[in-house]
Symmetry: D2
Subunit: 269 residues, 4 copies
């Protein structure tokens, strides 16, 4: 018998219970960055036999999900991904979810996660996903485009440093060293030494700089002013062809000003 | 050429950029409730032809994902789901992610979302998922088990009220009324009137109370002290059979004290 | 007997109790404005017989306290006061109290309050302070100097609107109208009408613009690059005369760019 | 000419500027503790020649201000002070300032500071206050009366430990040791050793326990159910004598349950 339920929790009580939930919005007129990171991805990548140091299919899957996120959330103007991490930049004046951090972070991370699972079979047609991949996320505000670009530069420097280290590490392991010996060997080595080591082990001059740019530079995902998609859209009077900005993936230097000068609309939006 | 990257973003700058991200933990010694809600689920349920007012398969899929969440996150002691919404209760002294709201909310919502997509085919074997389902989430703290139980009672009352309304609404629509006529018809009706309407339209006495309890009461998911699973666990000396609490789903009254008296371990944990 | 106290509250417990107190700093690289407002100042101004609509001594006391605040807190670069309200602007990169809002707000408001009580007799030599004046305060972040200047302009517009209204209101009251009749009379009147009313009641053309600028424009308090104070400062080898920026009070238009162009060092600091 | 001001800052802009200020309330149904601490009080106490280790007049002034705070803020049910620190406890369901931390902290600290300056001459009739004393403050929530009492116990233990140390330290200094020698001498000494040292230096058995309880136990300030004040209050029909709870100061053990058992109304309020 449930008919008397509603009397137990009346309007006043409901308001009281709701008022425990308060979250202020992220500071207005600042760039919001949502950064998501794979949870226990070391284990996930081993269980799913990802190639080391970089698995091209896995990275392409990540990028494809990021494209999906930009197509779903119009306020995201740029995103940058490396390894199992992705940063999404919302425009300064975005009012998405009243700028409440939990709502924005959870919606973005949830959409990304669902997409990752859905698109898995497109990128790994011969490998079943064993258990769900998942991500944690957080929001950070940057008050100026200058500091925002410093943030993105930091992520790209991190990409480069980690990639060079990992490339050396796995080449040493493949050459017969144990993981722990490889680690010891690399401790304290500088950029130049690592490059020489790579040339030596691979027998290829300038080996590192011949790697696919996606590995060295990470992936930038944004709306292109140049490339447009034709989209059918319902309007009064029937379906109409509309030109729509296409979301593109690029592997480019985002530290230098040239990228931003070539795409002023990204941070002006 | 990327070798000079690392000099651009030095240690001090990195610390500066990191320090924009600060999030304090949720108040210690309070119950944390993570509530997730489907985003645009009205559209999703139509696109995927969910039965109205309740789609049993869709609810079972939600419940199955909640079971998965409890199996992954040990600090979640109870969860309650209704429609496209689920509330997860973390124990008072949980230190999960240092109690940072964004991390906890995003990890839970991400795991739930991946699982939803992965398990879809088990519950809808003959229907393809067309586009990703996703959820937003938030964290609320309740300082006492008394208020926590009020919160859960509120969700169950809401389940009941909505279910009764929706059952009437869709029965009127199936009987030939337009949606807007059905809405007008139900405006301001009381519990008793709705029950009589249901009896009359269905030709069944006490129709509402004969509905599956999952529809009327929602779903409670928790670890059972009684039912245990045998789990293989690696230990020194080989794999060992271990008794492990089983996560169970029940459709029961959680407003009355009897449920909590029968399961004192849930809120004592 | 207290000797056994210390065993009751041990180190672990102390850490636990401390960890309930967490407050994140205000977003880095943003202007922090501390705005304080008199509590129950309507009552306070009546009890202390302040002249209406503006009491010159009371305003000078407020300004003198603001000067004291700027002399005590080096990170405050500008402040603006009107009536029983004062806004203090901290420089963008201030690290005062680790940018924790409660600490900054409380220290500023406490210093201001003590000073108000201490300096009372200098401004009201023949009137005893009957009970303590007090203020509440809050911190707001503004991410750009553009928005900060909009904030200050808003406060000065408010000053002007309130002053014009109050000047009319009290002139009507002094002319014999009841307070409630004066209120009704002024309802909906525009700037121009109020100016004509003032001219008519006072018998003075352009009466409003002949009022002391402190009443119409509020008070701006900042460090002057031009005027310096000689201060005795202890250094190795004895006391040394040092030139030190003088904190000045001005009644000027801070909406127009000219003020900021004439004092670029204020927002560049 | 200011008449055109109001057009510069219109309604929309005002709302925008206001919306930068958002502060959520402190968690409902938790005890709020406002703790204030003297800023640079070491310097202040030297400049104003406070007796060491405890200045009775200075402590009485602090207590008198705390009484004033309880008389002004009805939601404060208890306060505890030691040295230049005071903790004010607001009742669990207080709605003071919508539970916004900055407002509550600033109003309490401001009232306390004004009062400190106003009452100075009552406690130091022959010593002028040279410069304003000021305090910083913060709010902490405790979700149960059990943890709240642990917090208060912690402060009293701290009072005891500091007092015993300071009593020894200043007795050694008065006996001719330098401050740094006294510090070295006391390093690592236990309670028992300190008590013996005090007995030996003072020539008095059990010297420490004969000190004024205010020094050893700190000061507890609360409303007494027993002692009432007769207050004149304005009511319709004239002034009426009303019985009003008196705020009292006690120097008692608040660690032991006996105090709280004798005053159940304090935490039941």
């Amino acid at each position: 018998e449930l008919g008397h339920f509603s009397e137990d929790v009346n309007k006043t009580k409901t308001e009281y219970l709701k008022s425990f939930q308060y979250e202020s919005g992220l500071l207005l007129s600042t760039w919001i960055v949502i950064r998501i990171d794979g949870c226990h991805f070391h284990r996930f990548s081993e269980a799913h036999k990802f190639e080391k140091p970089n698995d091209e299919a896995a990275l392409n899957l990540m990028n494809s999900c990021a494209v999906g996120v930009l197509e779903e959330f119009n306020d995201i103007v740029f995103s940058y991904g490396v390894s199992d991490e992705y940063s999404f930049v919302l425009k300064k004046e975005s009012q998405l979810y009243g700028r409440r951090a939990s709502d924005i972070v959870s919606a973005v991370v949830s959409y990304f996660s669902s997409m990752y699972t859905m698109k898995w079979k497109d990128f790994f047609p011969h490998r079943e996903i064993i258990y769900p991949a998942y991500f944690d996320g957080r929001a950070v505000c940057y008050p100026s485009s200058h500091i925002l670009r410093d943030y993105l530069a930091w992520r790209q420097v991190d990409c480069h440093i980690n990639n060079q280290y990992n490339t050396c590490f796995w080449m040493l392991v493949k050459s017969g060293k144990t993981k722990s010996a490889a680690q010891t060997y690399l401790k304290g080595t500088q950029v130049q030494e690592k490059n020489e080591l790579l040339a030596q082990l691979s027998g290829t001059t300038d080996y590192y700089n011949k790697l696919p740019p996606m590995f060295c530079l990470g992936s930038s995902v944004y709306r292109s002013k140049k490339e447009k998609n034709t989209v059918d859209e319902k309007e009064e009077g029937g379906i109409v062809d509309k030109l729509c900005e296409k979301v593109v993936i690029e592997y480019c230097n985002i530290i230098e000003p040239s990228f931003w000068e070539a795409h002023p609309e990204i941070l002006d939006s």
